[in-house]
């Protein structure tokens, strides 16, 4: 664990007795950000003919798609494409690099299964680029090409969301900030529009789709405004490239025989709300949510896949998420060392036991052989003794008999001697 500095645990609040000057920090930040310039990537998704390009042009008061740079709508697409156009716009000293990502062909085919896949792939690839750039050893200032906001265009059927709408939003709501819009809202009367909006919001909640949420601020006034905006979701928009004169004023609008639908009129449509929210008040927040939530989700999933080998064991991976992949490897190394130690002691034990067994066996067999040998020796000795005894007997008998024989011999000799004498005497007879 890295040791944090020896600091007081709770920061101490201090009152200043005079002007220090760090209240100027925001100005310093302002200055630096203007110098750096800003970037924003906006994606528009919807079927052809819903007025996406027109809306972009209206939002940014420019002809993003002109004769020289024709928009995707004028091209015939057979497959879903993801196209990006980068433009540089300047206003009030502030420079913005705006990237518009269009998805021509979306939802236009007969079979639209998986038509969201190229969109998902695009978003993921941008996150991937950022991840790689962020993870390099030599890092340089990284351009932020991630998709910050996705405007999803709903066809003004007046009934509800189509299955494709639901499917798309469900798949993208945790990858990018999704803002659903009702396109070509000038085909709906205010009442129809209200009902339509209610229906859509109901379906969004039913399917648990997480659309972009406006953060609450500390300012009550702002919160009131935000709540008002939330009530008008999804925003019903009308776009126009044409400037018409109405009551002496030049406005952007759509001219009908029965009147002019003004783009920037709050009673006609929610375009102004969208523009204010998207550009003037929440552009930074959209970028922050992309960076802190969507990108981090992507990153942790990616890294978890690499380190946790697919995260097979859920309980284990939860712990692993709080570490960097390298710390994770360190932890695994330590675990492994312990496992090895345990294995070693176990093996050692088994080894010792077996050796003991074997030695014991050897000892036993030695003892057995000793015993037998002793036995045989004793046997032999007994036999020896027996033999000795027999011999002694024999010797005794032999000497007895030999003594006897000698006496007999002597007797015989004496007898023969006497006979001799007698014989001699006898002859005299």
């Amino acid at each position: 664990m890295i040791e944090r500095p020896e600091s007081t645990v709770a920061s101490i609040a201090r009152n200043l007795e005079g002007y220090v000057g760090f209240a100027n920090l925001p100005n310093q930040v302002y200055r630096k950000s203007v110098k750096r310039g800003f970037e924003f990537t906006l994606m528009v998704v919807g079927e052809s003919g819903l007025g996406k390009s027109t809306l972009i042009n209206s939002l940014f008061l420019t002809d993003l798609y002109s004769k020289d740079y024709p928009g995707p709508s004028l091209r015939i697409k057979k497959t879903v494409q993801v196209e990006q156009s980068k433009v540089l716009v300047k206003e009030g000293g502030v420079q913005l690099t705006l990237t518009i990502v269009d998805t021509p062909g979306f939802g236009d085919a007969v079979d639209n299964s998986n038509c969201w896949q190229p969109v998902i792939n695009y978003i993921d690839s941008k996150c991937e680029d950022f991840l790689n750039a962020e993870s390099r050893v030599n890092r340089r200032l990284m351009p932020d090409n991630r998709v910050h906001c996705c405007l999803y265009f709903i066809a003004p059927s007046g009934h509800g969301l189509k299955p494709l709408d639901i499917e798309f939003m469900k798949r993208l709501h945790d990858k990018v900030n999704v803002i659903p819009l009702i396109a070509k809202a000038d085909t709906l009367t205010p009442e129809e529009c209200q009902l339509f909006k209610k229906q859509i919001m109901k379906e969004i909640q039913e399917h648990k789709i997480k659309i972009y949420e406006f953060p609450d601020t500390e300012d009550d006034e702002d919160n009131k405004l935000i709540r008002k905006i939330k009530e008008r979701m999804p925003l019903a928009v009308v776009g126009s490239n044409v400037v018409i004169e109405v009551n002496g004023k030049k406005v952007r609008g759509r001219q009908y025989p029965w009147g002019v639908a003004e783009v920037e009129n709050g009673e006609h449509c929610d375009f102004t709300v969208l523009r204010n929210m998207l550009i003037r008040t929440h552009m930074q927040d959209l970028k922050d949510v992309t960076n802190n939530v969507h990108y981090e989700n992507y990153r942790s999933k990616k890294l978890a896949a690499v380190t946790c080998n697919g995260g097979v064991d859920i309980s284990k991976t939860k712990n692993q998420m709080t570490r960097s992949p390298l710390a994770q490897m360190e932890e695994e190394r330590r675990e492994h060392v312990m496992k090895m130690k345990k294995m070693e002691t176990e093996m050692e034990q088994v080894f010792e036991m077996k050796v003991k067994e074997k030695k014991q066996k050897l000892k036993d067999s030695e003892a057995e052989l000793e015993r037998r040998h002793e036995q045989m020796k004793k046997n032999l000795e007994a036999q020896y003794k027996e033999l000795e005894e027999k011999r002694r007997h024999y010797e005794e008998e032999k000497s007895n008999w030999e003594a006897q024989q000698r006496i007999l011999e002597q007797q015989k000799l004496d007898a023969s001697k006497t006979m001799e004498k007698n014989k001699k005497k006898g002859k005299i007879f």
């Binding site: 890295i2 600091s7 201090r14 925001p26 950000s33 705006l98 790689n132 380190t307 390298l326 710390a327």
Partner: protein, 430 residues
């Protein structure tokens, strides 16, 4: 449904972006304000490290700079080594909240042998970098709410000798210049006269240059502040005086130090450079100091650390590595290592078992040989015994035969003798 590859799908318009004119006020010029609002809501944080010998007025200067009395008592000179003590304070000015951390070097320059003095400072700075790096590398990280403890500015306090830098100063600053933004200041400068001060500053600056010490330069790339920053760069090092006591000058209470021969006013630019320091450090360049710390010093630390751990941006064929590849490669290497260790241990055991088995077999063999020998001996003995037995039996038989034969002879002789005697007797009787 055929879906094309992403690279084929994406058509970029030109290398960079083309500029387009706007037909009206769009409103994104509020972006800097949006950013500022977010920062203000989030709060700021700033970390200052004060390096200097004991008694140079570091704590007093901090108090004076931030118009408040911070914690701490004056330290003694008898510290055994250099320690770093940090304190965090939450300050607020109008709607701006600042989390200020002041780190003091306690005992710097007090030891007899100061060779290792700089080490604890460098270690401290590195520890903060390491903490940030670890957070950045985590799988689930919360960089957004991370309390950044990296040192943004290092105020190096130079003793007002009037002559030149001490060698300890040069050594320390050289070790720190690639890790932190150094702002050298001449402490307690009310002990130096103006003419001496100019000479002192020139001497210090030339010594720093000749020793290759990189001190922090106030940035001159932004036109709004380029001029003032350039001028201030020429006044470095700032000669400061700190005081929290107030003296009445005219009809105002000002921060000053009162001597019998006059009063040194802290905020009087003729008396000292305190105002310049405050202006540069806090009011103009605080954000730049933070940025430099992050984009230069921290990146350098990170690069060195990652290279140390064996990470590279390109493989031997100079193709760029993706993060995933790098981690996977590292992981495979790591797993291979572990497996190898396991294998080695197993092998070792197998070897030992073999050896022990051979040993025991040897012992067994010896045992059997011994008993074979004994058995053989026994066999020999037995044979001997048998032989002896046999010879005894033969003798016995011989003796028996002899005896029987002799007895037969005797009985015959007796019979014959008897008959002879009988014959004799018969003859006699005749």
């Amino acid at each position: 449904m055929q879906y094309e590859n992403i690279s084929a799908d994406m058509k970029q318009e030109g290398e960079g972006a083309r500029a387009v004119p706007l037909a009206g006020h769009v409103g994104f010029d509020s972006m800097p304000d949006q950013l500022v609002n977010k920062s203000v809501n989030h709060g700021f944080c700033f970390n200052i490290l004060c390096v200097g010998e004991t008694g140079l007025g570091k704590s007093t200067l901090m108090d004076t700079l931030f118009n408040t009395k911070f914690e701490g008592e004056p330290t003694q000179h008898n510290q055994p080594g250099v320690q770093l003590k940090s304190n965090t304070y939450e300050l607020q000015e109008s709607n701006v909240r600042l989390k200020l951390t002041v780190v003091n070097t306690v005992g710097f320059g007090d030891q007899i042998n100061k060779e290792d003095s700089y080490k604890s400072i460098v270690e401290f700075i590195d520890t903060q970098f390491e903490a940030y790096l670890q957070e950045e590398l985590k799988i689930k990280r919360t960089l957004h709410s991370y309390h950044d403890t990296r040192i943004h500015a290092c105020l190096y306090f130079i003793a007002p000798t009037g002559h030149s830098l001490k060698s300890l100063d040069l050594v320390t600053m050289k070790k720190l210049d690639s890790k932190v933004n150094i702002i050298p200041i001449i402490a307690k400068s009310d002990a130096i006269s103006k003419s001496e001060l100019t000479k002192f500053k020139i001497k210090i600056t030339s010594e720093l240059v000749s020793n290759g010490v990189q001190i922090y330069q106030f940035p001159t790339d932004d036109e709004t502040v380029a001029e003032i920053n350039a001028t201030m760069n020429g006044h470095l090092p700032f000669a400061v005086v700190g005081s929290t006591e107030e003296v009445k000058i005219g009809n105002k209470m000002v921060k000053a130090r009162q001597y019998p021969w006059g009063t040194v006013q802290v905020e009087n630019e003729n008396h000292c450079d305190f105002v310049k320091l405050r202006e540069m450090l806090i009011r103009v360049n605080m954000e730049d100091l933070r940025e430099q710390t992050h984009t230069r010093h921290y990146e350098l630390y990170r690069r060195c650390k990652l290279e140390e751990m064996g990470f590279k941006d390109t493989d031997p064929d100079c193709k760029p590595f993706s993060l995933q590849e790098t981690y996977e490669a590292k992981r495979n290497e790591f797993m291979g290592e572990l497996q190898k260790k396991e294998e080695e241990m197993r092998q070792m055991f197998v070897q030992r078992v073999k050896e022990k088995e051979a040993e025991l077999k040897e012992a067994e063999k010896e045992l059997h040989e011994k008993f074979d020998r004994l058995k053989k001996l026994h066999q020999d003995e037995k044979k001997k015994l048998e032989d002896k037995k046999k010879s005894l039996d033969d003798e016995l038989n011989g003796f028996k035969q002899k005896k029987t034969a002799a007895e037969l002879l005797q009985s015959q002789a007796q019979q014959a003798g008897g008959s002879t005697t009988l014959k004799r007797d018969k003859e006699r009787k005749k």
